[in-house]
Symmetry: D2
Subunit: 135 residues, 4 copies
Amino acid sequence: VFVFSRPVRFEEVDAARIVFFARYFNICHDAMEAFFGPLPGGYAGLIVGRKIGFPAVRAECDFKSSLRYGDVVRAEVTVPHVGKTSVTFAYRLVRESDGVEVGIAKQTCVVCELETMKKTPIPDDVRALLVAHAT
Amino acid sequence: VFVFSRPVRFEEVDAARIVFFARYFNICHDAMEAFFGPLPGGYAGLIVGRKIGFPAVRAECDFKSSLRYGDVVRAEVTVPHVGKTSVTFAYRLVRESDGVEVGIAKQTCVVCELETMKKTPIPDDVRALLVAHAT
Amino acid sequence: VFVFSRPVRFEEVDAARIVFFARYFNICHDAMEAFFGPLPGGYAGLIVGRKIGFPAVRAECDFKSSLRYGDVVRAEVTVPHVGKTSVTFAYRLVRESDGVEVGIAKQTCVVCELETMKKTPIPDDVRALLVAHAT
Amino acid sequence: VFVFSRPVRFEEVDAARIVFFARYFNICHDAMEAFFGPLPGGYAGLIVGRKIGFPAVRAECDFKSSLRYGDVVRAEVTVPHVGKTSVTFAYRLVRESDGVEVGIAKQTCVVCELETMKKTPIPDDVRALLVAHAT
């Protein structure tokens, strides 16, 4: 399990005073970016340097509890599936202050060459990192 | 079917030059806000005036094709389920220029009093609007 | 004066329940995008088609009153300065419901070729549109 | 000088492939939130707990260079003015990799009770923190 924490940001709270639901996916993406930290240049190295991207083909989230400004959210990231050109990430989102589970999300991405947006096999070093967190 | 269209916004495109996946849910939410237009004060009238909200309990999207800056996206909104205190919206997202389906999303919300975040039965006028788009 | 109106978006309101100050600049940018509507393909045609961009070199805003969810904001756009490679836009932001001025903003952009990020003279059709709103 | 650093976020880059200009103000706000870290509960403690806010009355930025995905930005925060009910923050934004100054920003806020949005004198502990970074 890869663990990533960050505070709720001031501008993530909506007119109903809770974190806007679509922002849960931003939190997951932040965790995914951090997940790739061990690679040279991190996620940005993949995108900008190697021009490899991970467009989502599916994303889903069950929202269990709301997040508010002042909360710190922890994402526990695992990798339930690694295919030839696709990968599924699972995220358990927890409010740090009381350990309450606030969301369970899943995201399937394909690995693409960004210039052409064509699928490409997962590079070996990326695969090794993914497999290390497989469940 | 309720239909809503808007251009992709300049800042919705990410470092991979396509609309960031989480933004598809923002597009759906924009469509949902517009859906409530016929009620007095629209969606804002519900949230700010009547202090009734629709926090998501589940959201999912299958991403079929990417959106880029310059595209106009059309959301076709239907209501596959209306319960006592919950409602499910379905969204078919289409790129206007070529009619390509870019995403299929679904979102289940509970109706809440925003002061307490307690579930509340769907008000009659809201229900009538939802039922009119039931599938 | 070019006039552009849009509602405050649900997710633009922050934890203090008012539109986050940085979002005023997003509103101005939305108005600027609409300003370029008369050109073929609009602002997107410039960016994506002709690969010409308008990176800001300076932006400023005086915030006069707050905006809340439910408000519609009107931007009145003028062009106080058109240079060889730069342009200044002025924005008067007004809350539609009561006509209160909520912000006065100004933004100076340079015209660039996006591939190289080098300054380039303002194209003739763009200049004609800008000059038509000069003050 | 209070120093705060963070990477450019994936979704902060716009269709022109550089950080959207309005996001520079988000970076400044992130730095301001961090600035208030030494107070109990940090900035969130002020907003949510004590219901004191800092709505901007003026913000300005000179953009010196662009930021891209993969960059880390450092904000150097100082406090050029502390009044009875208002405060001005100054931000020097620097790209970490090469030390290039990418923006110079300034933001003046009034201190308000969020319930009423009325100005209120800066609380003593807040003032002490501000004065410690006065220039």
